[in-house]
Assembly symmetry: C2
Homo-oligomer: 125 residues x 2
């Protein structure tokens, strides 16, 4: 009996500590993705600075699991992508209207991005 | 001492059973995504049948973490998405050339999809 209690407690501890990657794989969230092409030369400092500013948006409270990616398919015109998740539409709206995001769009995105496409998705169930 | 062994064994068991979501969050893989619009009416049996056939491609050995998603942004023309991951380009090529995939593309995709875009990405590091 004692051993069963120890096993149970250990499993609970393992589950709570590991959380089994749930925040990284939240398939129930809204995933917001945007793929884009910059006006900067490939590998330039300006390119790096843009990516860093985009990644910094991950600090907005409702943004989860922000990832910066390189687009590698030759079948479209984009070079980079930004992927993030929101728990719900309210969280998405909070991000969209956040001063840091608005400032980024107006003063960085619109000046440095030459082409982009936004794709958002939820599980198809 | 016996209890420590039990705790250790239980933790190992938990780790091996749960795998901590790693396969779902393999950020080092190539992520292949395709967003598309079908010719079928929304919610139709034909639509469901198409999605099922697409999801069935997840059985190909090198496909990981296949997900069927609904596109929800009004900023593009797509209604659905299919997301999958490959460990490397060889795995991607294996999928592309697999008879089940070739058959799907020729006899299902080309006949039922009216618009699509493919986007593939890897981590930007």
């Amino acid at each position: 009996m004692k051993n069963i209690l120890i096993i149970g407690a250990t499993l609970l501890l393992a589950l709570s500590v590991m959380q089994c990657g749930a925040p990284q794989t939240s398939d129930n969230m809204i995933t917001h993705t945007v793929y884009f092409k910059l006006k900067h030369p490939k590998g330039s400092e300006e390119e790096k600075a843009f990516i860093q500013k985009a990644v910094d948006l991950g600090a907005i409270e409702t943004v989860h699991n922000l990832r910066s990616v390189k687009e590698v398919s030759p079948k479209n015109n984009f070079d980079f992508g930004l992927i993030m998740q929101f728990e719900d539409q309210a969280g998405y709206d909070f991000y969209n209207n956040h001063p840091d995001h608005v400032d980024f769009v107006e003063n960085v995105w619109k000046k440095e991005v030459v082409d982009f496409m936004e794709i958002d998705y939820v599980p198809n169930e």
